[in-house]
Symmetry: C2
Subunit: 158 residues, 2 copies
């Protein structure tokens, strides 16, 4: 493994721990280039956008609001060229309200793969990501099945 | 890039073209180890299974049946250690029936990321994958909205 690949992997692991797991959004600047582009992230509200550092912090805050104890379990890191691909599992308590899914207190599990892109100074410039959103939707629907609002018997994507 | 990484990327691109795009399942043996493990692929019927070569061919045939003209558009390849991560877009005509979604003739688009694992002889031993299944489900629901069977007004995961 090249020195650059090694540095980027180590930086990425610390970034995930500190910013996404622990929610220390003020620390994010240490890892970010001036702008961060969300190249591809289907279903994400910021898909296709280029964020400055303040907008990036807002994204992390909003993304973590319903899942304040979230933890990423990194499965693999594949560094090559300008990118580091990361496979991951994720778990969190559904402790805050989401649209159509009021806080349930249940543990929600998720998985995904993210390619993080770096500049020559090893700062993050953006990502290309796919998440198992259908799996999350099914869990949230089940977690909120006894909740009063919504009603009806939703058709299943199963 | 190391010689091994280069060989694996080239082999992987040819495998995707020949087997998954063109549907030449009989040719798959040239790329496969004796067994192929689906380490992680949420929503896939073969998730968690270890397939021999005959079972692998069946998986490709069944996966392609509803989408015989499918094409993968490889976005990035990241080779590191035993794996090559591949980001991809996909498009196909919904030409065959799926459970709850009769053939619509519509173009369906999808994206995902797959980590392919290789042995020392550069043969494929398995994968770890996440696909945007929620996006596909929404497209199929829309494509089949005018279709007679099913009925009702399905609740939306939007």
């Amino acid at each position: 493994m090249s020195a650059t690949a090694d540095v980027r992997k180590q930086r990425l692991v610390r970034f995930i721990r500190r910013v996404w797991d622990e929610g220390d959004v003020e620390a994010a600047d240490a890892w970010l280039a001036a702008t961060y582009r969300i190249h591809h992230d289907p279903g994400d509200p910021w898909d296709g956008m280029t964020l400055d550092r303040a907008a990036f912090r807002d994204r992390v805050r909003q993304s973590r609001a319903a899942f304040p104890d979230q933890r990423f379990d990194i499965q693999g890191l594949f560094a090559d060229g300008e990118g580091v691909a990361m496979s991951w599992l994720w778990a969190a308590t559904h402790a805050g309200d989401l649209p159509a899914f009021p806080a349930s207190g249940r543990t929600i599990r998720m998985s995904g793969l993210t390619v993080y892109f770096f500049d020559a100074a090893d700062r993050l410039t953006g990502h290309w990501q796919v998440i198992d959103r259908l799996g999350v939707y099914r869990q949230l629907r089940q977690a909120c099945a006894g909740a009063p609002p919504g009603g009806g018997s939703p058709a299943s994507p199963d």
